[in-house]
């Protein structure tokens, strides 16, 4: 298992950081932090949980489906931003 960290300030948006444990191209666990907004807030844990065992190319669809399944809104960062930061952390 490998560890990675990455972060970025989304232009016109907010700062997002990820801490990840991964094996090859599979996400073992991930923690997402930053100064973005998400309503309702507890959906972030659901997103982190749902990303476990997923491949990088499943990140956008996984995040989007947790958001829509929970009627949640992410503000200041998008699922694509989370994907690109995870990609950077998994290099």
């Amino acid at each position: 298992m490998s560890n990675g960290k990455a972060g970025k300030k989304v232009p016109g948006g907010k700062l997002v950081r990820v801490d990840i444990e991964y094996s090859g191209d599979l996400i073992d666990s991930v923690r997402i932090t930053g100064d973005f907004f998400l309503y309702p807030e507890d959906v972030l844990e659901k997103i982190e949980f749902s990303l476990q065992g997923k491949k990088l190319d499943e990140v956008v669809s996984t995040v989007d489906s947790v958001l829509s399944g929970n009627g949640a809104t992410l503000v200041g960062v998008t699922s694509e931003d989370i994907f690109s930061i995870l990609k950077e952390a998994m290099v």
Binding site: G13, R17, T33, G34, D35, Y39, E41, V75
Partner: protein, 250 residues
């Protein structure tokens, strides 16, 4: 629509956050929409709901300086709330009484701040996502954060009265071992305060102007917390806001 207005109070960080949550619960149960104003004593750092405590806050420096640290229920960034440095407000209203999207509701409530500043002769404007900035210079003068839960909008925010960047940097982690004059100058370029844009302005004047703007056109009932809310807030201080489980959760 009748609003409850709770005049300026001073509490510690844990109590301030617990009062917001207790009011959210009572508004969710049908209580009056509420506007409250408050200060922080002791001065405190609040971090956003999703921020990493250890990445954002110098806990040793906070302890030495007697600065409390609390995680908010709202997203957004880390804020140093100096007792003398800011006026803080919360607006708690049901989504049905303020049927606006996220940006629109920020804009509505930030509009009240802008009105208050205009009464002081200060020209400011809303800058999405959640800031109020000076017209012209674009310097931030107010930061705001919102959450929605149980059909209730909570927006709280600060209006900067006086900013001591060096002190702010001493309690927040700024990604450098040594705080340079250059870093301080960079923040002072981006952020301003009422004391800088209107030298000599008194805190009380600011409060009066902001209070007037927030209550304009509203049927306002000046009142305090109910006994039930006070008791609930006291419980939330112990159950959540003073707890490592909450504050250290990220």
């Amino acid at each position: 629509m009748k609003w409850r207005i709770i005049d300026l109070e001073t509490h510690d960080a844990f109590t301030n956050m617990a009062i917001d949550e207790a009011i959210c619960e009572s508004v969710s149960a049908g209580g009056l929409p509420t506007i409250r104003f408050y200060r922080w004593d002791p001065s405190a750092v609040s971090i956003g709901c999703f921020q990493s405590l250890k990445d954002e806050v110098d806990l040793v420096a906070c302890k030495e300086a007697g600065v409390d640290v609390v995680r908010r229920r709202t997203g957004g960034g880390a804020v140093y709330h100096d007792f003398n440095g800011e006026l803080t407000y919360s607006v708690i209203v049901s989504e049905k009484d303020m049927p606006l999207g996220i940006t629109e509701s920020y804009k509505e409530i930030c509009g009240w701040i802008i009105e208050g500043l205009a009464k002081l002769g200060i020209l400011a404007e809303f800058k999405p996502i959640n800031d109020v900035v000076m017209t012209g210079s674009g310097q931030k003068i107010s930061g705001n954060a919102q959450t929605r839960r149980g059909g209730v909008i909570l927006q709280h925010g600060t209006i900067l009265f006086e900013v001591d960047v060096r002190r702010m940097f001493s309690v927040l982690k700024v990604g450098a071992d040594k705080i340079s004059d250059k870093m301080i100058a960079a923040v002072e370029e981006r952020v301003t305060s009422l004391s800088r844009v209107k030298p000599g302005v008194r805190f009380e004047e600011v409060y009066e102007a902001v209070l007037e703007a927030f209550t304009a056109g509203k049927e306002a009932l000046r009142s305090g917390l109910t006994d039930a809310e006070k008791a609930r807030a006291a419980d939330l201080v112990e159950e959540r806001y003073k707890k490592g489980e909450w504050n250290e959760s990220r």
